[in-house]
Symmetry: none
Subunit: 213 residues, 4 copies
């Protein structure tokens, strides 16, 4: 842990290797042998350091989440107007989803878990998503104004979130099943800009409708 000679521990190497492989192949399709081989560790080391494959997986979920929060924080001043805030929230979420700079990717693991839940994940994802969603609801309400019904706010949140999280399908899945991707994922800011504008138009549409009544 000293800043010099920072030799990675076996435990850390296992964590990073398995983050990468779980992200790529999912929990069930990943074998401990594969992880250990990539980490250059003995096949029994996973059970030594994490007690079970499932516990390692949970550690990976927490680790990749922490990584994405740390590497792509939400950069905005709280005094800014909520529409600008929305842009930054969407941007940082897209960055987290699309990043290749991290060891593993939490949101791709979430996508896998949504498509095929794993007992091993316990409530980790549920808890994180729950917190995130509440904050998004608040922001949308701030943009919409006070008289938005709970149902409407929920629908607006859904429309925005779904546009973002739909990108969390992993690369292999995208290139495998989609001939040409409709978005230019190298231009993250551009995509964030589009989703923001498209969605703000939707929100304003409902607000105008509300005002006319």
């Amino acid at each position: 842990m000293s800043s010099l000679q920072q030799k990675k521990t076996t435990k850390q190497k296992l964590l990073e290797s398995s983050a990468v492989i779980f992200t790529e192949k999912g929990f069930a399709n990943t074998s401990i042998a594969e992880i250990c081989e990539m980490a250059g560790a003995n096949i029994a080391s996973v059970n030594y350091h994490f007690r079970s494959k499932g516990a390692l997986y949970r550690a990976v979920l927490r680790y990749t989440f922490a990584q994405s929060e740390e590497l792509y924080p939400q950069n905005f001043e709280h005094k800014e107007n909520p529409e600008v805030k929305l842009y930054h929230v969407i941007l940082s979420l897209l960055q987290r989803i699309l990043s290749r700079d991290m060891k593993g990717n939490f949101y791709k693991l979430v996508a896998k878990e949504m498509a095929e839940p794993t007992a091993a994940s316990e409530n980790i994802i549920r808890d994180i998503i729950s917190r995130k969603k509440e904050r998004m609801d608040e922001l949308i309400r701030e943009i919409y104004g006070k008289n938005g019904s709970r149902k409407l706010i929920a629908r607006l949140t859904y429309s925005i979130i779904s546009q973002c999280l739909f990108l969390s399908y992993n690369e292999k899945g995208r290139t495998r099943h989609i001939k040409e991707l409709p978005l230019d994922l190298d231009d993250v800011e551009g995509v964030a800009r589009h989703i923001t504008d498209f969605s703000l138009a939707g929100i304003r549409y409902y607000r105008n409708l509300d005002g006319e009544k």
Copy 2:
């Protein structure tokens, strides 16, 4: 179901059983033994009738797709204006995604494949999606008008499609990781209405922007 003695063949029973189980648990997590047990068939019957687990899976992909097309056709007159068409396209897509009346569900299988591609699926999904996407592009272009750039149309298509397909996670995935679903999935028409309105507002926003130039 007909008054004739229409006894289901073993092959058909295997197809239906595996469609249900694959949809629920995915390709890798489903065992041939499980399928045969549900179908009341011999353990060797899958290999006998379909040659391999992978071939059975491909048959299921084709079968569930055909089912969804047959049960939920797009009901609209082609003369109607394109915005009305969009609603009907979205509605029938949502019906296909959310239906519980079918044996298995193609779109839920697609969701799994996007999150975790399977060698077994070969190009089946890619080909189907490709055709669907082209038709959606055309419709959006019709709504937007002729001077939409390819890039813009692609983005608009993405925004609409993502709101629909995000629902293709199966029930287990949704209830496992999301505390309360933001949409009322029993009210399919309502959801389709919302996605249509929200998206049309987005499209118009871009068109107005375009017109101001």
Copy 3:
């Protein structure tokens, strides 16, 4: 199953092999590999035919019990007086315990289970013992006469049974830990005679005591 060419099935061979090895080494110390080797079967065959090691073990418990009942039935006429009956009950019990003619030995498995219970055995032994004990209680009551208290009858049953079942320690255990065995186990009738006489003397002692009151 025809009386000719009665080739033993793999399942039967597994059952017999594991009966022998479980009797010798106990459940935990026996490996599936060992059983399969002795049976000349593939290592996966146990799981194919019995679903698990534990289920095989339960099958062995039932099998060895059935064997001992079949090979050493209780030979006595019911009209005989109860003291003669007691001798025959003890004799057949000792024969069952000491026999080397059977594949495996239920009572040696029971001894192991008493010393070190196994989750795998479920309630099989408990149920068998319970029935046996009731019948022994009845017999002792018949010998003692009607005014034996429940507590006294229980103690007498215990004294007799313990002398018999103490022999269910397996041969390896006996020769390993006892220099010279106090009983000549080749003379089963002699041992049965001794235990009967010794115990009848004990029963009469209590009855006389009772009578003097």
Copy 4:
């Protein structure tokens, strides 16, 4: 326990913990990790202090035997008549077998060893039992009188000892496989009294038979 600071050494803690666990679960079913956890010691400490799991087990055998001898000595005056002596011998044996005040229990370990011998135990039990048995033979001979044949004395010893040692199955084994225990183990004196009386009746029976000749 002394007023001095008598901190238990790691070695002693390992000894006591393993005595308890070995008594409960047996040698094979007990893992070093479990022992170390209970002792609050390092996973390598068993091998450090005792060289191997087997050597620890032998230490436990000696330790639990010494404990039982120390805590439950045979309280009788040697001048008393041999029948009274017998009662005291049986009583102290039962106390040793049934005691819960000790760390571990030698006789329960013996019961396990008889049912399923362990290479690890070497000759420790054999030597101890051999000495015990000789002394019991002497006592029975003293009660019976001089003209008892070796064979008869051996049988009488067996009948008495078996009634005592049959109780050495641990609680788990008893309650697991026997619905209701025929003896009230809280009344150790009562049980000792019963076994003594029952057995003395047996001895006298043979002596009378002998006298009639």
